[in-house]
């Protein structure tokens, strides 16, 4: 059967479009696939201490997860996994979130060892103070906890310089703002050049938490909504840092690295 050139072209375009759409459809199908294992990022909310003091800002992580999903390419399981240091599944959520607003009891040696293993072999702990003070009981508990996990002469919490990669892992930031802005700096414990635990006294969860009607639980002071936005950005950056480490530190240098090394071989 004779085929005209127009017909052939039209057929070709149709086939190409179908193929592209097909691939797109397949990609979309995969994105919408139910819980594909471990590629999804999931917070582990560390339950430490008694009562409900381990979760002073319910809904904060879910909201940050939602923001992560919308703003970045990270696929997020919105429901955080509540874990204890004795949980068998502790290592399945390498990002732990520890929040509190009052003194927490120092866990036993087995738990301390578990946390040490978790942090040493690649885990990340974000500690968020909701007590609204830089020298409160929770802050003191956190310092005691970190000293127990990494006893001296190992370094304890130290101020993270503003040029650290955690401040440019996605957004360009210079301080860890939360519901409050009482602490100008992020404090962290570093092991082998990697932040394993970060401590923020500005109540990040207070800025992220939202009720079921879509209203934020707390106003941000003194910066208002701009401060809340910067708080979300800090949360994104911390998660991005946990997942990519110092990627942003070398990634911008790629062209220079390649040129300097004269990598291009002879054909």
């Amino acid at each position: 059967m004779p085929v005209s050139r127009r017909g052939l072209l039209a057929g070709g375009f149709a086939a190409a479009a179908a193929a592209a759409l097909g691939r797109r459809a397949l990609a979309d199908r995969s994105r919408k696939a139910p819980a594909h294992g471990s590629s999804k990022f999931r917070f582990g909310q560390l339950q430490l201490g008694s009562g409900s003091s381990w979760n002073p800002r319910p809904g904060a992580l879910r909201r940050l997860g939602w923001e992560l999903e919308k703003r970045t390419s990270i696929e997020v399981e919105l429901e955080a996994a509540v874990v204890t240091l004795a949980s068998e599944t502790l290592h399945e959520t390498p990002f732990l979130y520890l929040a509190g607003e009052r003194e927490i009891e120092l866990p036993g040696p087995t738990s301390i060892e578990a946390l040490r293993r978790f942090l040493t072999f690649g885990g990340f702990l974000l500690i968020d103070s909701a007590e609204g003070a830089t020298d409160g009981a929770f802050a003191a508990s956190v310092r005691k906890l970190m000293a127990a996990v990494f006893p001296a002469p190992a370094k304890n919490l130290e101020v993270v310089p503003k040029d650290h990669v955690i401040f440019k892992s996605f957004y360009l930031l210079d301080q860890p703002l939360g519901r409050l802005a009482i602490a100008p700096a992020l404090e962290a414990v570093e092991r082998d050049g990697r932040i394993v635990a970060a401590y923020v006294a500005n109540d990040l969860g207070g800025a992220w938490a939202r009720d079921d009607f879509g209203n934020y639980d707390f106003p941000c002071e003194p910066g208002g909504e701009r401060q809340r936005e910067l708080s979300f950005r800090m949360g994104v950056n911390v998660v991005m840092y946990a997942l990519c480490l110092d990627y942003k530190a070398d990634q911008v240098h790629v062209p220079f690295i390649m040129k300097r090394r004269k990598w291009k071989p002879d054909e």
Partner: protein, 834 residues
């Protein structure tokens, strides 16, 4: 046979002195200077006495020696046992006697005083002779003629002619001997002549042999030749060596060695070496004199190659210098060569693309009238090794699997890592100005076009290509793998089928079959499972976490479960499934593969259908005693296999050296591994040996079939005849493993060991140094050998007859002493001295 006490000139001098002293004595006496006259008179008598003594000795010897025998040599011997001390004491005694006599004769007339002193001194000398008992040993001796060794250069450079119409250097040497026939006749009266040729070795010859000989030697080992010839005459009498050469020495002499080193060596020869320069000026040549390049280089790292171009006797000109490999030009540079003799260095920079051996060649075109054309090219081998494994990690989204891989690769000092992660997709909301974010554009062209060949391994980790417009570059990735690169695709929600790779060039290179967009089959499964090692997987280098299969199985069993699987439609026919899903099946009923390895073209690809391998690291590390090392081990294995570490190639062909001299045997080792990388006993390998830089135009020189042993190896030895011709040789091996053809090759260079024609210009300086360092004469460019050339006299003596003539025991001596003393006494009496 006359005994010579004084040289002829001295004898004349003594006679003259006696006459002059006598006249002076007369004058002094006439002027009334008695003391002076007496002294002059004593001197006159001493001179005359010396001459008389010589005559008396000769008379004595003549009377004592048998007249029939023709003695031709004599020597003095002292029979008294006093030695030198006795001689010294005797001389002192004589002087004392003369002194006392001088004192005792004071006041006597000058002549008389002189005569008395003279007579007493004569008597004293006579007594001294008796005391010392001297004798003359007369000998009849014969001398053996010693040897002159002619050392003639017969290296290939002696076959060159400075003028294409003129004689060669060797022909000039032959003519020299013809024209020096009379000189040789003269030398042969006292010497015998031996003839040797030298190049790599020294050989004895004759003038007749020289006439038919051709100079073909592949080196001019002048030092070795001198040493060798000198050693032949150790203990024999060598008159000297005549060295005839163009002076273009090789092997650590001449230009290759410092003058001080040469002179140190020449001193040890302990004989004269006269030199004749057989070359002439005016030779035209361009040569690649030297190439300075490291023997080893790192892959994809710039290698500097310095080629020294030497020009001789040519007009100024501009020439292209070409660097090529595999018969294909790589670089070309134009070089301005000055007139006369000069060296110009040309520097090339190349970047070897792959690990292996490379034969490079530097060449210059042949100029008109050039004497030697073989030195216009020079080949050399560079062994290219890997310094670091260059890995490109492209991840579609940040995730723990991405983090774990990056952390592992970054901490490995043998890895140079370029990571690129997609942090935000087009679907993500962005209400933030770009200058408040740290994101940069995806450098797709740079990564997937310009720099792609620079990587050893590309890892696509849960990466969908469609949103980033890199569909056009997928073909580059495929051809990169086909050309020898390594590719790993790791699972995730946007990888394999769900990454839209079905029907793309990348899918062609993968070892698994993907689902198409309209197949309607599920492409992901989120279940938790522990993969099961296949039979191949239990031994395969990628999944061997422990050495023994049983230990390995136990390790895999103890690993924490994985979560999530990318479902694939099948496995490519020649791919190797290493691990499978315990429950899920393919449509054909076989277990769903989880880890699959495959070859594609010259490269390799690995498919890991999950994004939870990080569980083998961090999740496993939750258990005391486990530090997550199995994750690291698995990836180290995978990298080694993907980049085709030589130990992990199915077929390996390896020659025992990179460079050989012609006719030297070449041993080629062949190793054959099966699909599971275990030795393949009694497997067959076809081996083809070809000669030629350009693989497409190389000529086959040998072909054979080898059967490997139980250890999977076999050795094949190429005979000297196979590799007689200089050039680039390739050994290509072919075998079939489980229906799949595998190939391997190696390359080596056959090259003249020496550098004989690399520097063909004659070098009179070297010959001048040889001559001056051995007390010889540098004759330069002579047409005949001069008769006057000095040689050491023969030292070997044969004594046929000998006799001693004792001077002291002659009765005449006693009479003489008595007569002298009597005369002296008489004179004293008459003079009134008692």
């Amino acid at each position: 046979m006359s005994i010579v006490l004084f040289h002829t000139y001295l004898r004349y001098a003594l006679a003259g002195a006696a006459v002059v002293l006598a006249i002076l004595t007369v004058l002094a006496v006439k002027r009334g200077k008695g003391g002076l006259g007496a002294a002059l008179g004593v001197a006159t008598l001493a001179a005359g006495g010396a001459l008389a003594t010589e005559a008396l000795v000769n008379l004595t010897v003549k009377l004592a020696a048998p007249g029939a025998t023709d003695f031709n040599e004599y020597r003095w011997v002292m029979l008294a046992p006093w030695g030198r001390l006795g001689l010294a004491l005797g001389a002192v005694a004589v002087l004392l006697i003369v002194g006392l006599s001088w004192r005792a004769t004071r006041g006597a007339p000058a002549w008389r005083r002189a005569t008395m002193i003279g007579l007493r001194a004569g008597a004293a000398v006579g007594a001294l002779v008796v005391f010392l008992e001297p004798a003359v040993e007369l000998r009849q001796v014969a001398r053996e003629p010693n040897r002159i060794a002619f050392l003639i250069d017969d290296s290939a450079s002696m076959g060159l002619a400075e003028d294409p119409q003129g004689p060669t250097r060797f022909e000039r040497t032959r003519q020299l001997f013809r024209d020096s026939a009379s000189t040789l006749d003269v030398w042969q009266r006292d010497h015998k002549t031996d003839y040797y040729t030298f190049s790599e070795t020294v050989g004895a010859t004759s003038l007749a042999g020289l006439a038919i000989m051709q100079p073909l030697g592949k080196a001019t080992l002048m030092r070795k030749a001198l040493e060798s010839v000198r050693a032949r005459y150790e203990g024999n009498d060598l008159a000297g060596i005549v060295l005839i050469s163009d002076g273009a020495a090789t092997g650590g002499f001449g230009e290759d060695a410092s003058e001080a080193v040469m002179r140190d060596f020449l001193r040890t020869l302990d004989t004269r070496v006269h030199t004749v320069w057989a070359a002439r000026s005016g030779l035209k040549d361009i040569a690649i004199a030297r190439v300075n390049a490291d023997e080893f280089a790192f892959v994809r790292t710039v290698v500097r190659i310095d080629a020294v171009i030497r020009t001789t006797g040519l007009t100024p000109q501009r020439l292209p210098v070409t660097l090529s490999t595999d018969g294909q030009p790589l670089r070309q540079k134009l070089v301005d060569l000055p007139a006369g003799d000069a060296e110009v260095t040309v520097t090339f920079e190349v970047t070897p693309p792959r690990v292996g051996r490379y034969v490079y060649e530097v060449s210059v075109p042949v100029a008109a009238g050039e004497a030697v054309t073989t030195n216009n090219t020079r080949s050399f081998v560079i062994r290219v090794i890997r310094d670091k494994i260059r890995v490109l990690q492209v991840a579609g989204q940040p995730a723990w699997d991405v983090r774990a891989l990056r952390q592992m690769l970054k901490s490995n000092p043998n890895v140079d890592l370029i990571s690129f992660f997609i942090l935000r997709t087009q679907d993500d909301i962005s209400l933030v100005p770009n200058d408040e974010m740290s994101l940069i554009p995806f450098p797709t062209r740079e990564l997937f076009e310009q720099q792609l060949p620079s990587f050893d391994l590309i890892i696509l980790q849960n990466f969908e290509y469609l949103p980033y417009g890199i569909g056009d570059y997928l073909e580059n990735i495929r051809s990169y793998v086909e050309g020898g690169g390594g590719l790993a695709m790791l699972g995730g929600s946007v990888s394999f089928s769900s990454g839209g790779y079905f029907g793309t060039p990348v899918a062609t290179a993968l070892p698994v079959e993907l689902y198409g967009p309209f197949d309607g089959d599920p492409v992901l499964d989120g279940g938790r499972y522990s993969p099961v090692l296949t039979e191949h997987g239990s031994l395969h280098p990628v999944t061997s976490l422990r050495y023994s299969a049983s230990d390995n199985a136990a390790v895999w069993k103890a690993l924490p479960p994985l979560v999530g699987t990318n479902l694939v439609a099948g496995v490519k026919p020649d791919a190797t499934v290493l691990a499978t899903h315990p429950r899920l099946k393919l449509k054909n009923g076989k277990p769903l593969p989880v880890i699959v390895a495959g070859d594609y073209g010259k490269g390799r690809s690995l498919a890991v259908m999950t994004d939870s391998l990080w569980h083998y690291g961090f999740v496993a590390a939750a258990r005391p005693g486990d530090d997550g090392r199995h994750y690291t081990k698995l990836w180290e294995n995978a990298m080694r296999w993907l980049i085709q570490d030589p130990d992990l190639r199915n077929l390996l062909v390896d020659s025992d050296a990179v460079e050989y001299v012609p006719n030297a045997p070449v041993r080629v080792t062949v190793r054959l591994l099966g699909r599971d990388y275990q030795p393949l006993p009694r497997g067959t390998v076809s081996l083809v040996v070809k000669r030629g830089a350009d693989p497409l135009r190389a000529q086959q020189v040998q072909a054979t079939k080898l059967t490997v042993g139980d250890d999977g190896t076999a050795v094949y030895e190429l005979s000297g005849e196979d590799v007689a011709e200089p050039g680039v040789y390739r050994v290509e091996g072919h075998a079939t493993i489980a229906g799949r053809q595998v190939d391997a090759s190696d390359i080596f260079l056959v090259r003249e060991g020496g550098t004989e024609l690399d520097r063909p210009t004659g070098d009179p300086e070297t010959l001048a140094i040889v001559a001056s360092g051995t007390r010889g004469t540098a004759l330069g460019a002579v047409e005949t050998l001069p008769e006057s050339l000095p040689f050491d006299a023969p030292r070997i003596v044969r004594v046929d007859r000998r006799t001693d003539v004792e001077l002291w025991s002659r009765p005449g001596l006693l009479l003489l002493i008595v007569a002298l003393l009597g005369l002296e006494w008489l004179l004293r009496q008459r003079s009134g001295y008692l």
